[in-house]
């Protein structure tokens, strides 16, 4: 298996970049080989299999295919492999194989895509098998050395013991021989009850360098002779750049070249970012803003509102006869909600560094989808995949935005016009805000019927608005996007509707705008949770029932269990004086989640979110400490968007341009978060996203209890909560 590692392409990003300051890679020749001492040593260390490298000093390197953007799955995936490997956890470090290596080795590491809270749940089995296979090969190698049956040997804590004689060998001592052992064809994974590392809240493996400034993010890449580019793309999607006058900036400090970027943009390449940005701002540009130049928030709102009663809707969920049941109900309730465009606003703006020659293209970038970035590099360079590679860095936030590779394609397009010279493209925050892949904009209209006992007998939910799927085929939208029904589906791990309602109809009138939507942490579960969980509260209040009791009647199993758990822990219904509770639950990304928020609202309308109790049943909890951090983090992300996060569209462009106009929660607004991680076993649910969806509706329902105001349109900052 070692022969695969003889190509120079496997450059483990982490160690590579740890030494990757200017001095550290001063010896770089432009032959796509970065001779850092550590990386050289790693290449000589034997790979037991694709997942596991063990050095003679017993240190263990676990290869991680998925991206790390703060969600912690780098550590969780390492725990999964180490559990089966039976290695000493204190000797573990990690590295990212490159997408080019994955391509060359027939996707031995599987899917690199990191989104949809799938990092662990979709790869846990083969990652554990990778660790187990390596352990079996190490034990076999030791048995061969001792000339004893393998059944007499066992591995624990990086040591193999021949049980009858007590002889021992360390993993490092037999790793080279283990690599030559035929890989096992049959692997039995440990029973979950025997796990010692999975389920333990161990600390992250990637913290230290984040505290000293040593960690090299994509934006920090420094290569010898590197230039820096600043770009401007047409602020209105669908528009084009008619012309620019490079002569006006050619003599400005540091400027090397001004280059077109496709038909829609222009970049200045200079010696430093500041010089590139300064020249870009001085560059005369003449735009054709195209057919969308008159689109506004109001025109989009009107178009979506038209979909609420339109006949062209696709039915996602149908049980019984909703309209008949509503018509015959003792009481009917209607409500219309809306959910705005929101921006990812990752802390690290989009960036990528590319080096293109006649026959090679190499990219360094933060990406949630290394293989898509590789494809983007191939497309933009015009070179075959085999001539390209992508070195993934740790991401300064992703949240779905970096699942798209537009900035990678741009960087390669720019660098191709500077052959043989590495060029780092950095987006300004303003460019980043103007060219997002926004949280889809939608509206929803409910009609529901209650019988004389307050039972929900029928409900119709009409969704009108964007389809993310449609954004992949602009101008040719699909008729159906089942993703729109996340959390509302009839069945399935990605979000099944948890309430038992005898007559239910949920349909979608697709209304796509020129602003492209994208995956945004929580995706479609976010608005669907706000819609359904707010409306459930409306129904409860309209029929004089407690919102918890009303929900419990229609819930069973895991959904009811998580809701009960938060209600009990939060002392639901008995908040401290002057404070009010609100609850919500949903199922999505394979997990069952609930929240109980405790808020107060001052007479002047100031909202304080004091505390949120959250519960998640994610099946198996690989690292409960990191899960708690993901829950609290998802709340900050979701509540920032709920309170502040709406984008305004004027003349076809996004108005909000930076954190002064697109505010987010800071520490002074951060609620206390109490987490109940309650894995019931038998399934693998996601962690990074599901809980985000219950934060906003729980808070909105608490606001109603505090003020009597039902907020149906977001962001909240547009609604006054002042006492009348």
């Amino acid at each position: 298996m070692n022969q695969h590692l003889k190509t120079p392409a496997l450059k483990p990003s982490r160690r590579l970049f740890l030494g990757g300051t200017a001095a550290g890679i001063a010896g770089l020749s432009l032959g796509f080989s970065i001779p850092v001492a550590d990386a050289e040593a790693a290449e000589q260390a034997p790979e037991v299999n694709a997942w596991i490298v063990i050095k003679p000093d017993d240190s263990v390197i676990i290869r991680i295919a998925r991206s790390e953007m703060g969600q912690g799955s780098l550590t969780g995936l390492a725990q999964l492999a180490a559990e089966e490997l039976e290695c000493d956890w204190s000797k573990v470090s990690t590295e990212f194989p490159t997408p080019g290596q994955n391509f060359a080795r027939k996707r031995v590491w599987g899917n690199f895509s990191t989104g949809g809270s799938r990092g662990i749940r979709d790869s846990q089995e083969y990652v554990r098998q990778g660790g187990a296979a390596a352990r079996m090969m190490l034990v076999q190698a030791a048995a061969n050395r001792w000339n004893v049956p393998v059944s007499e040997c066992k591995a624990a804590n990086s040591v193999i013991t021949h049980t009858p004689t007590g002889r021992t060998l360390t993993f490092g001592a037999v790793a080279e021989e283990a690599a030559k052992v035929t890989p096992p064809t049959s692997i039995v994974l440990k029973d979950p009850k025997d796990w010692t590392l999975i389920g333990k809240g161990v600390k992250r493996l990637d913290t230290l360098d984040k505290l000293t400034g040593k960690l090299i993010y994509g934006i920090d890449i420094t290569l010898p002779g590197m230039l820096v580019a600043a770009v401007r793309d047409c602020p209105v999607q669908g528009g084009t750049l008619k012309s620019f006058d490079a002569t006006k900036v050619a003599d400005m400090r540091g400027v090397k070249k001004v280059v077109p970027v496709g038909k829609t943009g222009v970049a200045v390449i200079a010696d430093t970012y500041w010089n590139a940005k300064t020249a870009l701002e001085a560059l005369p540009m003449d735009w054709d803003f195209g057919p969308n130049a008159k689109v506004s928030s109001a025109s989009i709102h009107a178009e979506l509102a038209g979909g609420l009663d339109a006949s062209d809707a696709f039915v996602g969920v149908k049980t019984g006869d909703a309209s008949g049941a509503i018509a015959g109900a003792a009481k009917t309730i209607e409500a219309v909600y809306s959910f705005p465009f929101q921006h990812h606003a990752t802390m690290e703006p989009m960036n990528a560094t590319a080096l293109v020659t006649a026959d090679k293209c190499e990219v360094w970038c933060p990406t949630q989808n290394g293989e898509a970035a590789l494809q983007a590099a191939a497309d933009a360079s015009g070179l075959p995949l085999s001539a390209c590679d992508v070195h993934k860095t740790i991401l300064g936030g992703g949240f779905g935005r970096r699942g798209f590779s537009d900035y990678v394609g741009q960087a390669v397009t720019i660098a191709k016009q500077m052959p043989g010279v590495p060029v780092k493209l950095i987006w300004s925050r303003e460019e980043d805000m103007a060219h997002g892949r926004y949280h889809p904009i939608t509206q929803a209209k409910f009609k529901a019927g209650l019988d004389k006992d307050g039972n929900l007998v029928g409900m119709h939910m009409r969704i009108s608005g964007q389809s993310i799927r449609a954004s992949f085929t602009p101008g040719k939208p699909p008729e159906i996007d089942m993703g729109v029904f996340q959390g509302l589906n009839g069945a399935g791990a990605e979000g099944k509707f948890t309430y038992a309602i005898p007559n239910l109809l949920i349909d979608h009138a697709m209304r796509n705008t020129h602003l492209l939507p994208g995956y945004w942490r929580g995706v479609n579960l976010n608005q669907n949770a706000v819609y359904v969980e707010s409306f459930m509260d409306e129904l409860a209040h309209a029929s004089g029932q407690d919102p918890l009791a009303f929900r419990r009647k229609m819930l069973t199993g895991k959904s009811r269990a998580v809701l009960d758990a938060v209600a009990e822990r939060a002392n639901y219904g008995k908040p401290p004086k002057g404070r009010f509770h609100g609850i919500a639950q949903i199922m999505g990304f394979g997990s069952y989640v609930a929240a109980c928020a405790e808020v107060s609202v001052s007479p002047a309308g100031k909202l304080t979110i004091h505390k949120i109790v959250a519960a998640t049943d994610c099946g198996y909890a690989v690292n409960p400490a990191q899960i708690e951090r993901q829950i609290a983090g998802s709340f900050v992300y979701g509540l920032s968007a709920m309170i502040y996060g709406g984008l305004t569209i004027k003349d076809g462009a996004v108005v909000e341009s930076n954190f002064d106009t697109y505010n987010v929660i800071r520490i002074d607004e951060m609620p206390e978060v109490e987490c109940i991680v309650m894995p019931s076993g038998g399934f693998w649910g996601g962690v990074g996203e599901p809980t985000i969806a219950v934060a906003a509706p729980a808070v909105l329902n608490a606001i109603y209890n505090a003020t009597g105001k039902r907020v149906r349109d977001l962001p909240l900052m547009n609604t006054s909560l002042k006492s009348a």
């Binding site: 703060g70 936030g397 930076n658």
Partner: protein
Amino acid sequence: MIKFRVNGVDREVDVDPATPLLWVLRDSLHLTGTKFGCGIGQCGACTVHIDGEATRSCQMTAADLAGKSVTTIEGLADRGQLNKVQVAWLEGDVPQCGYCQSGMIMAVSALLKSNPKPSDEDIDATLTNICRCGTYNQIRAAIHAAANA
């Protein structure tokens, strides 16, 4: 040529005097631990110490730097010994993506110098840096841990 001190070493840079300190550090001195987040003094990812005071380096130009002493995240540890704030961050497993944490740590280490035992209210009033991953509760706990270290 603009002369100033960075992490205890005298440096000279030849840049446009309007260049923000942030980009002097990152592009001229290759001290990339100081992060670019917004460029308008909002997010705090670029926080450094200038003559001991927490400052957003995107809001200070090279022209203003002459004769000043700048400490960046790379210079916070003392001869390889982590600063007590960094220790508290490590013990508390604070960072998620980590991108904002250089600025957070620099802001907090300056806060603890002027206010060794900050209350929650002091922290709320002083620490205006943005973290998009939402590590705020870990940060608050780590500040108190560092204050009591």
